[in-house]
Symmetry: C2
DNA sequence: ACGAAGTTTTGGACTTTGTCAAAATCCCTG
DNA sequence: CAGGGATTTTGACAAAGTCCAAAACTTCGT
């Protein structure tokens, strides 16, 4: 995130210390949970309420400034990188999450559209597997 | 599910009334939550504890007899249909969930494997959109 | 069938993740 | 720099699951 304050203004959001700090924390820690981000913000601001972290994350997500992903068995994760149609790779045993560029062009399996009369607007892909570290442990 | 009892025995699971009833409920109501299934079971058995429903669903899921999906903003959903690599279509506003046969052959975007050294075992795809009923309401 | 041994089921407390509402505070415009 | 509207804080609450110990049940060998 180049300039958090400018980004907020571009979206008509009043600039507050909490918002700037949360944005920076998301930038610094991609795929972090709300609680982890709160910790990150506290390192910068000294303190922030749990509710504010949620408020800010919700506003930023609604405005499309950040993106929320919610893999099974995990709290919601937030990330900076948006609008580039990438997907995620999640370790089943430790939860480690990595970005994966879409394997099938732009809107991946979006070919499935118009099924059941639904109007599809996004195809979310999560690759489940085992990360290198966890592969070693299991042996 | 042809024969719940036989299925349980095949997997070395003691046959209990609760397990049979839960299996039947999952069969009858694809994409139902644990609570909804509990209600279904109560219609059949009279009563079952919440914990037993979770125990049974967990055991069945571990054994691969049923499958659990966990779309964002929803409790876990359970289904009968397994091993056929199908995906899901979820309505953003009402949560209605439908099956979708994979658009891209067998293991869809599994081509992304070996990324980051992960050993990938599943590619989960969720199509997000708006179902016909909710499209009407919005207009 | 019967009883012992091992599982399941129960019921209640607890945890995690997140939301609601009201009061206090802050940001931005004039 | 004052005022109004938005934001943050605080504390209570809700949903979905899990943990635990005790009671009840299944299963298996005889």
């Amino acid at each position: 995130m180049r300039d958090p304050e400018a980004t907020l203004r571009q979206h008509d959001l009043p600039v507050t210390a909490q918002r700037v700090a949360v944005l920076r924390a998301v930038s610094r820690h991609p795929h972090a949970t709300a609680d982890e981000l709160a910790e990150g913000v506290r390192g910068e601001l000294g303190s922030i309420s749990r509710q504010s972290v949620y408020n800010v994350l919700n506003v930023l997500t609604d405005k499309g400034i950040i993106r929320r992903i919610q893999p099974a068995d995990s709290a919601a994760l937030y990330e900076d990188r948006i609008g580039d149609n990438h997907h995620h790779l999640v370790c089943r045993s430790c939860g480690r999450t990595e970005d994966v560029n879409c394997a099938v062009g732009e809107a991946p399996c979006l070919k499935a559209h118009s099924h059941h009369g639904f109007k599809i607007d996004e195809a979310e892909v999560i690759y489940w597997g085992t990360c290198p570290a966890c592969q070693k442990k299991r042996r």
